[in-house]
Symmetry: D2
Subunit: 382 residues, 4 copies
């Protein structure tokens, strides 16, 4: 099996998400981490690079150096995929430069600081023909994929209602740490706090699972903790296509909550429910029939669920496996293209630029709605 | 122990809620059912009265007859409390007549057809000095009472967020039966369908548990099933006093859902969660401490929870017991007054006219908001 | 509807189970409590009788007086069913006297102090032709009845394995109260403590649900708390007919446990699981198919489950309702016989003398096994 | 960071556990897989080695070749740790040869085919001074480690009761596949089927969490599926030191069950419960206090739980992470020794030869007990 050579921008000392990306990349043995610019501090970059056992000459002090230097390496040695795990304000430029220099890109969400940047990035991506993957982790869970397939297959009948929620409690107080600092700083996070950090995940999950696009929304956006500069709480009424309605709740001040993203979708014939706290279970509920419990690893599952599962049923797979599924499918896509073979449809099922743009449109619309006295705002063109 | 003589208006053949009220009345042996006008059909009224073993001369063909005839009986024989379990359009007149003729009243929710009627009823009640009890069942659960006490005691700190939801699926199709018919008929149900039937329960639960009043709201109200004449689905953004925000979701088209009313409240220090499907559990969640599971019957519970519990912990109490708690507390209140003793504070903890008026204000505001392009509407004066 | 005239022996001040029996009797309006001998203290008997609103002349100072006096009343006034809710050592004599004087009997479990007494009681019951009902509460739950029907209908295929457990924690310390005192006193409780009090429930549940009889067993019986005179903990390997094996665990020293009786049964094609803590759910598990969640009130349930349910799905029914189902079915049986009509098969589904004898055989065998060095002991002839 | 060079014996095409070991080894970046003898078929070994991207000259056709060839390589290139993932009958010889040639060993459980082999292996291990790690996965879960710490810290008081269970359903029928075949073949699996495959896990978990040693047992061992050559079901009464009693249930014929290993331990003051299906939760139950829910990632957890966690609370970690914790701690131990530094106590917390010997003593005693008419058998000397 061929492996892809991976580089990383960001993910230095104290980064939570950088470590997650690296585990995800290692999980299925599709990537070799060969280089990195882990921090804007050269020293810290070297520290992390050393800890990861990289060759010293491929630990870079900046993303520009990384891209330039790698570009000059022989093709068989040069990095192939660059993973960008920096705060939001450092997404667009490195992604642009990476794509334009011939590298595939993995980006943490939200894709950019603004919708305008996201739309630009799409042009660049299309022009360069390189691939871009966006780590909306929750779509990586096998039972989320199963949920989507059940709905696509029409099992629930026409969809009528979508509830999605993402409660966290870790910003209930004026936390000061590396994770909290940039997320509550508009210059690094953009115009949205909670709505950007976790609201976009909830939004993406709702569109992915239901197969429907949000068309307009009405938002209540709050900053609950004193002196915080961005929203830390919000609830949104949604209107999808086909007059389907929905509710999105995302908060970071639900004291005592961990990270329990949850989705429920109801159609004419039945409903379904999934939540991360019980990630290996998908509940299907039926009119006048007993509910059913679908479980990761079940022999009765769709090819999409099975493709994204590593163990037999009863061996719980979690967040890291879901994250790794995104890396895995992206690698399978790239490798298939390299081999001039047809990628499996299951491999193509990962979030990318389209989902990134939808997320930015959501952020800009939801924040505008929070400030508006008008009830419904159309989702920004995306 | 003295028992109260109970009469019933409504609750004839095929009535679900009439049977529930009678079980609730029997549970704690505080009432003797002595008379009834169970149906507008004299024949059906007699049928039900006979089944219940009533004396034939106290089975009446109409509520007017019941009230007039009972009024003429000697005081020691005459009915004392009249339970009205008819559809909404038949609440106000019988309640008014009962109060004005000297009887205490138990009413099913919503209290009347309109806010105006509810406000009138308050005047009547205050003038007559008789008591009125409204069966908002969910506040009868011991763990709901515990939730309220925890918040009143400040355990969660200042409240910040309230989520309440009430999903049902039984109106997912164009059901035709006695239960569905009147609930979807504006002449019997009033201006609201789901919002009146279950939205008011959710609204009452949110105000009761949080101890906070809703001040304005923004609603998305839908009629999902074709040709239905009233709403069957809705979601509402709420603003309580003290800038506390909330979300209320109530639907009767969530196919596969039963009746799982659920509330979550978050404060500065922690949060709590209760749902009817696991009615004997109250979860308390804390910042940086393990969550706690409070259970009906626990020795550590408040006097309000203990007062409303009949069995030791581990013996599940359910919907009928919650319903019976409302009957029980109402009886204890009346009996204490009869005995010229001070009622226990726990006995006074049942819903009444104030909650009824709040519910009607909610209904009228939420339906107006559903039709409005204005984002926030103030709750109607109540 | 005719009601049965009910009398009670035991159930005076401080009795937990007496109050439960009375709620159960009231729930469905099939009984009128007309007399009682609530305590061996005449004073306490009068106190309880007064609280219950009985006529003074039908409050008796002893069970003998009750039976004799009621016998002498005119038939249309005389008590018809006598409920005996005393500690175990006061089961046999009152039951015998009641049956021999023409009264139907409801008895708390275990049926008697010894297997010999239970066998005698069977003779008496058969000779007198009166009916006897034993309150093995857990078989009264609708979902337990559904479990039994699923197995009887062959849905699981041939049964292979039965696990039943009954963990409590309330005797973890040397508790001193009315409930604990007699249960740990061999002169009142008999040769078994936990095995008699809750082990018999677990045993009854296992035989009822599986439809299989235990043939031999091997027990580990312990007295964990110092100075306790009877067992407070035990685990038992079971062999049913057809070489089906099982495990029964019952303990009263599982600190922190409430009362969570649970059963799991596995057959060739699938398994099922029910536990009291989630009493309205029955889980059916299948080979290579999603598990199913059956819920009280579901339209798809057997007539046995539906017959024993009072509310639509989603309105939790609990312990008191399960208890009341036993009273209800017993009443329906007696009333059908009185009316010379055929009782419904669902009404006949309540525990009686046969289950009582099985329980006593279990107690005597399990205690003997606990003391034996022989591995397997045959269940005593019953 | 230095990485360890890893080799693998077994784990060729179709091996479930080989793939799991490799993911576990990759997860934390402590190992580089450098060589393997993946199958007794040279062709298959090459196939797997190629898929894994190994250098062809380090893909071997037999474990003997692997050990001999690697031994001859320069020390800085030579494999350091050999992971043996073959069926049970191929554990002892490769492990012996690996240890004697200077390699550390990771072994799948049960450690050997017989207790005698296990005791021999211990001598060899002690003589060579190399380390041995046994992959009893379930002890790798952070919440299992927390459970052990809570008990060691005396939070539950003196332990009184241990329940452990391991229900599976996948051998409910006469399955024929690579996984089932060797597990039901005495020449490959040894004298035990289910008791060796999963009973040893349950036994290990019970001793690990409780901190107590089993001293004697009484077993009911069954072969339920016709023509199966080894046990597929069993239940065991346990006696630990200090007169603590317990029950172990392990079955592979519980149709519909996945893999839900579960443990409950009760002491004087409280109890605890953990199950793999909800692996990130540890429930602590208390006398007269609300139960507590400890969660992976909680800031209040012991250093042992925290050391074995990769993500913040609310990001579920699963089976692969638990497995990886064993690899991680073993690596940290070896690397500390290589660096002549003191290993952290948390790194030393992995199963090894002692646990392996206990497991073999359990297997031999439990199978003997299954055939015995004597009630209690002492655990074989270990």
């Amino acid at each position: 099996m061929k492996k892809l050579r991976l580089g990383m921008i960001g993910g230095g000392p104290g980064s939570f998400i950088g470590a997650i990306h690296r585990i995800a990349a290692r999980m299925d043995n599709h990537y070799d981490l060969v280089c990195g610019a882990f921090s804007s501090s050269a020293e810290k970059s070297i520290q992390t690079g050393n800890e990861l056992g990289l060759n010293t000459d491929r630990i870079y002090p900046s993303y520009e150096k990384l891209i330039t230097a790698e570009k000059s390496l022989p093709e068989e040695k040069r990095v192939q995929v660059i993973s960008i795990v920096t705060p939001n304000h450092l997404h667009f430029e490195p992604a642009k430069m990476a794509l334009e220099n011939g590298f595939h890109v993995i980006l943490d969400k939200p894709i950019t600081l603004s919708l305008a940047e996201a739309l630009l990035l799409k042009d660049i991506q299309e022009r360069t023909g390189k691939f871009l993957c966006l780590t909306h982790t929750y779509t990586g869970y096998p039972m989320v994929k199963e949920a989507r397939q059940q709905i696509l297959d029409g099992k629930l009948g026409e969809i009528r209602k979508v509830y999605v929620e993402y409660p966290q409690g870790w910003l209930s107080t004026a936390v000061e740490n590396k994770q909290a600092d940039w997320r509550t700083d508009p210059s690094k996070s953009g115009i949205a706090g909670a709505m950007g950090d976790i609201g976009t995940h909830a939004f993406n999950l709702a569109e992915y699972v239901s197969g429907l696009s949000v068309q307009k929304l009405c938002a209540d956006i709050n900053t609950v903790v004193a002196n915080r500069r961005l929203d830390d709480d919000g609830a949104v009424l949604l209107k999808f296509e086909n007059e389907v309605s929905g509710v999105l709740m995302a908060t970071q001040i639900a004291a005592g909550e961990e990270n329990n993203v949850k989705i429920r979708v109801y159609g004419e014939k039945g409903g379904l429910e999934w939540q991360q706290a019980d990630a290996n279970t998908l509940t299907l509920k039926w009119l006048d029939e007993p509910a059913q419990t679908y479980r990761t690893g079940g022999s009765y599952l769709s090819s999409f669920a099975q493709h994204n599962t590593r163990t037999p049923s009863g061996h719980p797979e979690g967040y890291l496996e879901a994250f790794a599924n995104i890396y895995k499918n992206f690698a399978e896509h790239i490798l298939a293209i390299q081999n001039q073979s047809e990628p499996k449809k299951e491999s193509l099922d990962y979030p990318g630029i389209t989902e990134g743009i939808r997320g930015m449109a959501f952020i800009e619309t939801v924040i505008a709605s929070g400030k508006s006295t008008q009830k419904w705002l159309d989702l920004k063109k995306s």
